[in-house]
Symmetry: C2
Subunit: 200 residues, 2 copies
């Protein structure tokens, strides 16, 4: 039996921190691992910015709640869930996902979580599992599945490598060149036509 | 972070083979592991009965498709999915689940599968993972979750034991006595009030 393991941001929904930066008009929140490769450093910076601006989790959730799936993402995802054991593995935080899940019809999302104080300020974050995306593929294989993993960026590569089939979804040109071993698709239609071959 | 791992039949939907037996008016299909404790023997018997009666997977799917969730199951499950990483671990077969999933809004169900020939006759079955329910709890723990497992019968006990919290849902009186270490609940309201304490 085949399982499908998907990345969330940029594959099914927009990048959450980019949306927050735009809506809150805080340019510093636009920084990504491209600018600050050390994820812990990046997250500390983001949380500092939130505190400096007196922003609570509820303020962020109000914005995140309104994020719409990418065009075509919902019907694509519905189709995948009808045909495969489907999970999403993401570096995002459960407190964001909690208000966003409804938009995608509550698929299973393995993600991290924030540490929030009584007033609602985010004081830290908790990585549920180191290399969580890779671990998700390992867990699915342990459970007897063959795995198709789909992602778009460098933090998905370990997951794609561990899977039986790795697919890049709309990757930057540079990545496409760097990882010729993975099929690369530019839309849901192409992706679906690949997946169709694995329906048992 | 807490994950919830649920049994499917008798917890969220009726026992599928019982429904099939009733609708097809084939008494032999009523047999369960209570009468034939060896699961492989039981399944071979069931598949023999299906072949003898010239029944194809499509005939069964027509019936399974119409199975309704137990009273209150859907709203209970929706609530669990909003608040926890939620998975279902079942001994049922993907070919049944495929037509039934919609009724429960497609939660993730780890289950087994049939071997079906070109004409649609079920020639065998494939256990995806031995002790699959126990393995699901192990996989969730590997992924960094604390686990609440919920089941109603003997084949759920290994899963309940492996979990951080094990709960029996409407178990037979005998089981309740035999496993006093597990909380026992008799409806979704009670179950929800226990789960509420674990929402982070």
């Amino acid at each position: 039996m085949w399982a499908v393991c998907l990345d969330l941001e940029s594959v099914l929904i927009p990048e959450i921190w980019q949306v927050l930066a735009k809506k809150l008009k805080i340019n510093e929140l636009k920084l990504t691992t491209r600018e600050i490769p050390d994820f812990d450093l990046l997250m500390k910076r983001r949380l500092d910015v939130l505190l400096t601006n007196n922003l609570k989790i509820q303020d962020l959730q109000k914005i995140v709640k309104k994020i719409k799936p990418l065009n075509g993402a919902l019907s694509f995802l519905n189709w995948v869930r009808e045909n495969f054991l489907t999970v999403i593995s993401s570096d995002t935080f459960f407190e964001f996902w909690k208000v966003l899940g409804k938009r995608l019809n509550y698929p299973v999302v393995f993600c991290n979580s924030f540490e929030i104080d009584k007033k609602g300020f985010i004081r830290g974050y908790k990585i549920r599992k180191k290399n969580g995306k890779l671990a998700t593929v390992k867990a699915l294989k342990f459970l007897g599945y063959k795995v198709i993993a789909i992602g778009d960026s460098y933090n998905d590569i370990a997951m794609l490598r561990a899977a039986d089939v790795g697919i890049l979804f709309k990757p930057p040109k540079k990545m496409k060149k760097e990882f010729p071993q993975f099929r690369s698709v530019s839309n849901y239609r192409e992706l679906r036509s690949i997946l169709e071959k694995y329906i048992s």
